[in-house]
Symmetry: C2
Subunit: 118 residues, 2 copies
Amino acid sequence: MSIGESLQNVIGGFPEARGVALVGMDGILVEEQKTVGELDLQTLGAEFSGLVKSAEAAVESVNPGPSGELVMVSENATFIVKRVTPEYFLLLVSQPDGNMGKGRFLLKRAGERLKSEL
Amino acid sequence: MSIGESLQNVIGGFPEARGVALVGMDGILVEEQKTVGELDLQTLGAEFSGLVKSAEAAVESVNPGPSGELVMVSENATFIVKRVTPEYFLLLVSQPDGNMGKGRFLLKRAGERLKSEL
């Protein structure tokens, strides 16, 4: 399954999704799938790559161990970040009323598939 | 209800909780309740105050609107951050297999109670 198909599977199974992207830890977007045209996943990916590093540093100091997920709920959107490899992560943006459990599940599954391709 | 009682309610309703704290956005811990003695909520609170600011800045650029929650799942623990006021947030640390939905619910309820006291 191609990267694009794996991303499309996430969007297809999650009606509240606005977009999903595979992003490098350097902030560079590898591939994206969107349902909302104006969603700027490029900028979000760059912002979240920095955030993931900060988050890992924050917990590393007192609670060592690999981190897996970061979820941010704002009034206008929900952001779910899932680490795929040390170099790449998935970013899913959905409506704020989206089913977070479903989004996490789909992102985890896509991550497991993509891991072998990266 | 005092701050300590509100925090105790979170811990009491959530068996997987390790500790919960009310923290200022300056990183200073106001009050804490713990079930695991060695949990360093002071250091975590300071780390997460910086993280909350970074996270808000990250989404603000493309998706303006107040942010409410930040969840981080690592292999060894789950961290849930809930903004209470512009100056304060709640930080809940639980076992990684904890019921995240229950944790979010209890934290939200405690936040609503505390809002009037701060």
